[in-house]
């Protein structure tokens, strides 16, 4: 094997000399043979021919030896490629349409692969990434989502397990930086000390954290590279200096390397600090001491040789012992979940992206069919050329090789165009997903070496696919027949082949159309679904308030003053604050005990909650269905009250009036020193908490003066466009506190759009693919029909001569087209059913298996096909029968 390859390489390098030697050797051989024949008594001329006969085809043999001696890709291919280029240049129309079709297919699939690769396939950018495991609790009450850990539980898991090298907790937060003006608020992460060792990341400057820096009173921070550059001028002397964060002096321990991001499913974190932040003494018990407060996520690195299943077993054992230790808080969360961190990150997007990838591969296939069709047309016109070359001694192998060379050149053109297109497409499409973090890592997608390798592989596969048909045809070339007939003969199988390519296109196109329809319908459902509040004329923003300068009472007073100032802005109709707002997801879930049906802690129901100021419902446009709104008199001295949504009332008080009922919400983890019975005083409409939830979920609202937590997000309803309020709102805030930053300033409509950014992104892509697919199919059908009409010119001429009118001819062609279409659709319907099942999981508001979608897609296909068929039909009808028949 090696020897053969080596000798071929040498053969390639010394080609000319070896050719000459071979010529000489053959020449000698022939002469010796001829001499022998002469010795037997033949005339010299006769002897010469006898020698040639005995030797066999000299040219063919030399050609074969030459081919065999050298590496084919070297010399022969160079020549083939030259031929191919010349051939393609001579058929510019064909070349342009084939290359463009390919570029479209390869471009789209490259772009989608870039996304798939970045988001799903690429490992995490950390050391031993395959041993990084997400570690969370499972709620035994059957919640599908794993829950966070409480700090005390985390500490116990960390201390008792022997399966993780490092187990690190982390939780998203926001921090206000007030070193220089203007104050800014940035996302930051509160972590246990060994985050950097866990990830195997070395800070660019300084160090990570030390174990003792987890204790209350420690204030250390690692800055992101970006924050270090933008806020601190990339000052290398920053390490060890103190900066003001949340009004407290923090020592800068280090600066993270450029591009470091953790966690990856959050907005880019600008700083990391230790859980000392949560251990600090506040009015409530510190988070780090509340076993019921499930606030922190966790990630660990498995020790060498430990499997995830083994880790899971040990963590479950620890969980069981924790449940015995504190059943009230832990009985429901004794089970744990150890899964690869990558799986946690991309598990939900994976399916979606693979579906997209599948869709784009179908587009590529449809494109292949078109190019194959184009090549078939082209090679039909070249039958005579090939026959002639075969007769002149070209081997079939050489002909096929030349066809392949042409396809390869086409493929290369398509790949280059496709890669350029994909770069463009990524730049165009990625921003459509918004700055949404619902698909982690999406923003990092770009065309890199891996992606390039993919597009080249895809191109090679495509080239192979679309050149199969023409190559098969060359193999069957009937030399004598083709040369004899003046007109190009039509091999009987060829037309059937072209027709079946179109049938395949229609089948795949239908599948894509149904997919796109489903996503469009789902998106329209999501976009037009009443969110339960009025997003128009609404401005929302957060305010970063220093916790050191404002205690809980101070924060409440600040909120009051700011809302008063905002209300005074001209054009403002109502002002309130709330946390979390609708569409922000199921952020805070707290269990509660119903007075009439008391239950032990682990058996209590739990529901979303929110904390709001008076006027919140009026400002948001959430209707009060029954009872009353909160007022400023619902304060710490008054009766504890709640407002619930209709879903809550329906779920927990079915058939009863929920007003006046009393419930006792969750433990100390919502900021109360002790729990209290609260009376339901109002029922409001269902505002969608999570845009991607099929139905409204129960939620209960607390008045802000009876449950201090955070200042919340301010909401302003205006009579004028909300953007026009923003500057006045900023001024109002500045007049109260120069150091308080305003962040996440968004209109209600922006919020609504963000919430469905991912479905929108999917829908746009899928519709684009379906559009391309239909277009390509129409073009393919048009090509086949045009060809058929040309081929049947004589038959049509005869029919017309015998009295068929134009209408009959048009009908004839259309009938022909519809036969092909019908077969394609029949096959496609089965595929469409499969697609509906597949997409059922990511589509909303759609009856599974609704035949309407398939019917509609068939309709679109039929109309598009009729349009494609009409032109050739018309051309057939307009033929002059006398002319056609004379030409024959």
């Amino acid at each position: 094997m090696v020897h053969a390859l080596l000798s071929r390489i040498i053969g390639s390098l010394r080609r000319e000399r070896l050719d000459a030697e071979c010529d000489q050797e053959v020449q000698e051989h022939l002469e010796m043979l001829a001499e022998r024949f002469m010795a037997q008594g033949l005339e010299p001329a006769e002897a010469h021919y006898a020698a040639l006969r005995q030797f066999g085809g000299v040219t063919q043999m030399k050609e074969e030896l030459r081919e065999r001696r050298a590496l084919p890709p070297w010399d022969v291919l160079a020549q083939d490629v030259r031929h191919a280029l010349r051939g393609l240049w001579n058929a510019k129309g064909f070349t342009a349409s084939a290359a463009m079709t390919l570029a479209l297919g390869i471009g789209a699939s490259t772009a989608v692969f870039a996304v798939l690769d970045t988001v799903v396939l690429r490992p995490l950018p950390f050391a031993d990434a395959d041993r990084l495991m997400s570690f969370r609790n499972l709620d035994r009450r059957g919640s599908p989502h794993p829950t966070n850990l409480s700090y005390p539980n985390f500490f116990d898991y960390r201390a008792q397990n022997r399966v993780f090298e490092h187990l690190v907790c982390y939780r998203d937060s926001r921090f206000t930086l007030t070193d220089s003006l203007p104050p800014i608020q940035e996302p930051g992460e509160i972590v246990s000390w060994d985050l950097f060792p866990l990830l195997g990341v070395q800070p660019e400057l300084g160090r990570g954290f030390l174990p003792e820096e987890e204790k209350a009173g420690a204030h250390v921070v690692v800055l992101s590279h970006q924050l270090w550059q933008s806020r601190f001028g990339a000052d290398r002397g920053i390490v060890g200096r103190q900066i003001r964060i949340n009004g407290k002096p923090f020592t800068v321990a280090g600066v993270a390397p450029r591009g470091f991001q953790f966690p990856e499913d959050a907005p880019p974190m600008q700083l990391w600090t230790t859980l000392a932040e949560d251990a600090a003494e506040t009015e409530a018990t510190p988070l780090t001491e509340q076993r019921g407060a499930r606030v922190t996520d966790s990630i660990g690195r498995l020790r060498h040789g430990v499997t995830p299943a083994q880790a899971q077993t040990q963590m479950d054992q620890i969980g069981a012992s924790l449940a015995l230790l504190d059943p009230d808080n832990n009985k429901n969360v004794a089970k744990t979940l150890v899964m690869p961190e990558l799986e946690r990150l991309v598990g939900t997007s994976r399916r979606t992206l693979w579906i997209l990838f599948g869709a784009v591969m179908l587009v590529l296939l449809i494109g292949c069919a078109n190019v194959a069709n184009l090549l078939l047309v082209r090679s039909t016109g070249r039958t005579r050329e090939f026959a002639l070359r075969t007769a002149l001694g070209a081997s079939r192998r050489a002909l096929v090789r030349q066809l392949l060379a042409e396809s390869l050149v086409l493929g290369s053109l398509g790949t280059i165009g496709g890669v350029l297109l994909s770069v463009l497409a990524l730049r165009l499409v990625l921003p459509m997903a918004g700055d949404s973090i619902a698909i982690p890592r999406l923003a990092q997608a770009s065309v890199d070496i891996r992606v390039l390798a993919f597009s080249i592989a895809a191109a090679l596969a495509t080239v192979l696919l679309f050149s199969l048909a023409p190559a098969a045809q060359v193999m069957r070339v009937d030399v004598a027949g083709a040369l004899k007939e003046a007109a190009a003969s039509i091999a009987p199988g060829r037309h059937r082949l072209r027709n079946s390519l179109v049938v395949g296109q229609i089948t795949l196109g239908l599948v894509l159309l149904v997919g796109a329809e489903l996503l469009i319908a789902s998106f329209v459902y999501l976009a037009r679904r009443d969110p339960g509040f009025r997003p128009d004329h609404l401005l929302t923003f957060g305010v970063g308030l220093s916790e050191t300068r404002y205690d809980v009472a101070g924060q409440g007073a600040f909120s009051d003053r700011l809302r008063k100032l905002l209300r005074a802005i001209p054009g403002v109709k109502a002002v309130a604050a709330g946390l979390p707002l609708p569409l922000e997801g199921n952020e805070m879930t707290v269990s509660f005990d119903i007075e009439e049906r008391r239950a032990p802690a682990p058996e209590r129901p739990s529901s979303d909650m929110a904390i709001v100021t008076p006027d919140f419902f009026r400002t948001m446009g959430i209707p009060i269905r029954k009872g009353r709104d909160f007022t400023e008199r619902d304060d710490a001295r008054a009766t504890r009250v709640l407002i619930v949504n209709q879903a809550f009332a329906r779920t927990y008080f079915p058939g009863e009036d929920a007003i006046g009922k009393r419930v006792e919400p969750g433990g100390t983890n919502i900021g109360e020193k002790k729990t209290m019975m609260r009376e339901i005083v109002g029922i409001v409409g269902d505002a969608t908490q999570s845009a991607l939830e099929a139905e409204a979920t129960p939620i209960y609202y607390f008045p802000y003066k009876q449950l201090s937590w955070d200042i919340g997000t301010f909401v302003v309803r205006s009579a004028i466009p909300p953007e026009q309020i923003e500057q006045a709102a900023r001024n109002a805030l500045m007049s109260l506190d120069k150091e308080a930053p305003m962040f996440q300033v968004r209109t209600g409509e922006e919020r609504a759009a963000r919430a469905i950014a991912v479905p929108r992104f999917l829908t746009i892509l899928m519709s684009g693919f379906a559009g391309i697919a239909v277009l390509l199919t129409v073009v393919g059908l048009y090509g086949v029909l045009s060809y058929t009409v040309t081929r049947r010119r004589r038959e049509i001429g005869v029919r017309m001569a015998l009295g068929a009118d134009r209408g009959a001819v048009v009908a004839l062609v259309l009938k022909d087209a519809m036969k092909t279409v019908a077969v394609g659709l029949a096959l496609g319907v089965a595929g469409a059913a499969a697609v509906q099942r597949l997409l059922g999981s990511i589509a909303f508001g759609i009856r599974p298996g609704d035949p309407m979608f398939t019917a509609l897609a068939c309709g679109v296909m039929i109309v598009a096909s009729l349009a494609a068929a009409y032109l050739p039909a018309l051309r057939a009808a307009l033929m002059d029968p006398t002319q056609t028949l004379r030409n024959e």
């Binding site: 053969a4 053959v26 000698e28 030797f55 066999g56 085809g57």
Partner: protein, 114 residues
Amino acid sequence: MPKDHSEILQGTLDLMVLKTLDALGPLHGYGIARRIEQLSEDMVRLNEGTVYASLLRLGQKGWIRSEWGASENKRKAKFYSITKAGQKQLARETESWERISGVIGRVLRLDSQR
């Protein structure tokens, strides 16, 4: 693509060429063709050009080598000779050939006794 006859007989031809070179020492292509013709008593009629394809195949596998020399009638000719690797290969091929032809022979005899 239909296989040429020569392709089907390729392996056999290679074996014959190898054996010829082993038995007679260095030979040129013409000599090999003559020798095969003679030994097979005209049972094997070959396009002599195929000998060169066989020689190239064997050379590429490292079983034979070639050098330029003078032929009997003082012509310049390329002489091929078998290598060590070639002799080993020949031994292997001969053994398996004998085994197979032995088996086939026995089977055919069985058939004719019926």
